[in-house]
């Protein structure tokens, strides 16, 4: 049997071959752009629809009023204050715990089957439906620890929810610190902790902050777990202010106050029959989306800044 001949190398054949392969290359560009536009377009439509529907509600009154039975007077004051305070609790708990867990796993834990199992589980936890966290929190924080249907319960619940995101992002960030840098520090006589605190952590701050913000921007839109623990949908007062005018000037009673958050406020308005409330919901949705986009922008900026100052 004759072996098939190799394609000839003359100019004509080569050109024809390159041309036909480049057509396929161009084809992919078209398909790729189409896919990209499909998702950008739907996001754009969604956002502009929210903005248009809620256009008459983007006023200072809307931001500074409590909810009301009359749509035109209802506002998101309680909701955005609630969201901010819950995010504060979430950030203050998820970040230290997540970063410490990641440092342990990445820098200290021996590589054996046990840590392998933990690793796989941490990654999988990111995929647990959020309502399951709500159920866990209801049993644990509300009933067992008796924290009530409060800001601290909500903050801790969302902290649990984003913990895997924070851990995974932190670990990736720690891992990107080159071995050569660690060896340089160890070579000077540093202990594991000194290497971590003087080098590995500072050099991965950008990635850690990015992970934290991405986690928080997921948490800020969560509704299901907070409804599960019993967040109120109608609330006409603010939590106790954290700063007081008597010593010691800070107060933590706000932690145990009832609360509502932006997505629950939206959900409440959407479910009302009166169409005037729909534009409230749309306006609140646009503001929530804006907050999320802003957080992502901050994350991108931080990453950019750190990339610029530290490039391995």
């Amino acid at each position: 049997m004759a072996t098939p001949a190799l394609p000839s190398n003359d100019l004509q054949t080569v050109r024809r071959d390159v041309a036909s392969r480049k057509v396929r290359d161009q084809l992919f560009v078209v398909v790729g752009l189409l896919a990209l536009f499909a998702c950008l377009f739907s996001l754009l439509v969604l956002f502009s629809k929210l903005v248009m529907d809620g256009s008459d509600r983007f006023t200072w009154e809307f931001v500074s009023s409590f909810p009301s039975r009359r749509a035109a007077q209802a506002g998101i004051l309680a909701a955005w204050v609630g969201s901010s305070l819950v995010m504060l609790v979430t950030a203050c708990t998820a970040v230290p715990v997540g970063v410490m867990a990641a440092i342990y796993l990445e820098e200290y834990a021996p590589k054996n089957w046990f840590t392998g199992v933990i690793e796989i589980n941490v990654t999988n936890l990111a995929g647990v439906p959020s309502i399951v966290y709500g159920l866990l929190a209801l049993g644990l924080f509300v009933y067992k620890f008796d924290l009530g249907q409060s800001i601290v319960t909500a903050g801790l619940t969302l902290a649990l929810l984003i913990l895997p995101v924070v851990i995974v992002a932190t670990r990736e960030s720690l891992r990107s610190v080159p071995r050569a840098i660690r060896e340089a520090a160890y070579g000077l006589g540093a202990t594991r902790w000194e290497v971590t605190k003087d080098h590995v952590l500072p050099y991965s701050t950008g990635g850690i902050l990015t992970g934290m913000i991405l986690g928080l921007s997921r948490a800020i839109g969560e509704t299901a777990p907070l409804i599960t623990i019993g967040a109120l949908a109608f609330i006409a007062f603010l939590p106790t202010p954290p700063l007081t005018d008597v010593a010691p000037y800070v107060s933590f009673t706000w932690l145990t106050d009832p609360f509502t958050v932006m997505p629950i406020q939206m959900f409440n308005w959407v479910s009302r029959p009166d169409p005037a409330f729909q534009s409230n919901a749309a306006a609140a949705g646009a503001i929530l989306l804006g907050m999320t986009l802003l957080m992502n922008a901050v994350a991108i900026y931080i990453r950019y800044r750190f990339r610029k100052s530290i490039n391995w």
Partner: protein
């Protein structure tokens, strides 16, 4: 054991380790042995990565304030041997040292299980193959080792950083930009910064693992010149795959092959009149 051991100082005229070891070093703090006395001595040293035995029964003496070069083909275990001296392998799981590296004049075994690797690394510095400055200021890079040792007095730090940068021939280039990021330096300057960083803590032995393999010829020449000068302050052990470099900078040369130490002696003798066939084959470029 003592008689069959190959010592780098065997053909040197001065001192064995019987010579008195009491002398005041240039810095006035440390008592050191006279030049050429044994600073460290590997005895029956073997090393395992898991089941892979990378070093086989190595016996070698490292003379005080001399430059000893390790040469040999790629993969023969030069880096592995070097990294035993500052216990770098302790960072890799599943590794094992057998035998000993005696460290003088204290006379303890560097690779013994009960010797803390951190203690070892505080006395034996290392410069790596690729420059690896911290992404911090030039000043903080050099000061880091001192900060680890609890030095926080600004004046003392400044004095010591300047001294280290001078020893590493970087002071003139760096004195006006001490607060600039170390990453703004060129490759050769970064490597000299790493040398300054290691020198700042006054190590007794300085290990170099192919310090010029990532540098251009001009930067390489500067580092070589520097190493030749360093022998007045510190005992140097340098790995190089460049035989001309070994010939230029070292007093003694050890040839390794397949995890074993084949031959050691005066650099001039090793390059002109090697006693082993394998050494001759390597230096005449027949393999490697």
């Amino acid at each position: 054991m003592e008689t069959t051991m190959s010592t780098a100082a065997d053909s040197a005229t001065t001192g064995g380790h019987e010579a008195p070891r009491i002398a005041i070093n240039m810095d006035g703090h440390r008592e050191t042995a006279p030049r050429n006395a044994a600073k460290a001595r590997a005895e029956g040293l073997s090393f395992h990565y898991g089941a892979h035995r990378a070093l086989k029964d190595i016996n070698l003496e490292i003379p005080e304030r001399m430059v000893t070069a390790l040469i040999g083909p790629s993969g023969c275990g030069k880096s592995t041997f070097l990294r035993c001296f500052n216990r770098m392998h302790d960072l890799t799981p599943n590794t094992r040292y057998d035998g000993a590296i005696h460290f003088y004049p204290d006379d303890f075994n560097l690779v013994a299980k009960d010797v803390d690797p951190i203690e070892v690394r505080m006395r034996i510095g290392m410069v790596f193959q690729k420059p690896n400055p911290f992404p911090k200021s030039i000043f903080e890079n050099v000061a880091y080792g001192l900060r680890l040792r609890g030095v926080s007095n600004r004046a003392l730090l400044e004095e010591q950083v300047e001294a280290a940068l001078r020893s590493a021939a970087l002071w003139e280039e760096a004195k006006d930009r001490l607060q600039a990021s170390a990453l703004t330096l060129s490759g050769g300057q970064q490597q000299r910064l790493c040398i300054a960083r290691a020198l700042a803590t006054r190590p007794e032995i300085l290990l170099f693992d192919e310090p010029t393999s990532a540098l251009d010829p001009i930067a390489t020449a500067k580092i070589e010149e520097l190493i030749a000068q360093l022998r007045d302050q510190v005992t140097v052990l340098i790995v190089t795959h460049n035989m001309q470099q070994a010939a230029r900078v070292s007093d003694f040369t050890a040839f390794m092959y397949l995890g074993e130490l084949v031959e050691v002696g005066d650099t001039s003798r090793i390059f002109t009149n090697p006693s082993k066939k394998a050494t001759e084959d390597y230096i005449t470029g027949r393999y490697g």
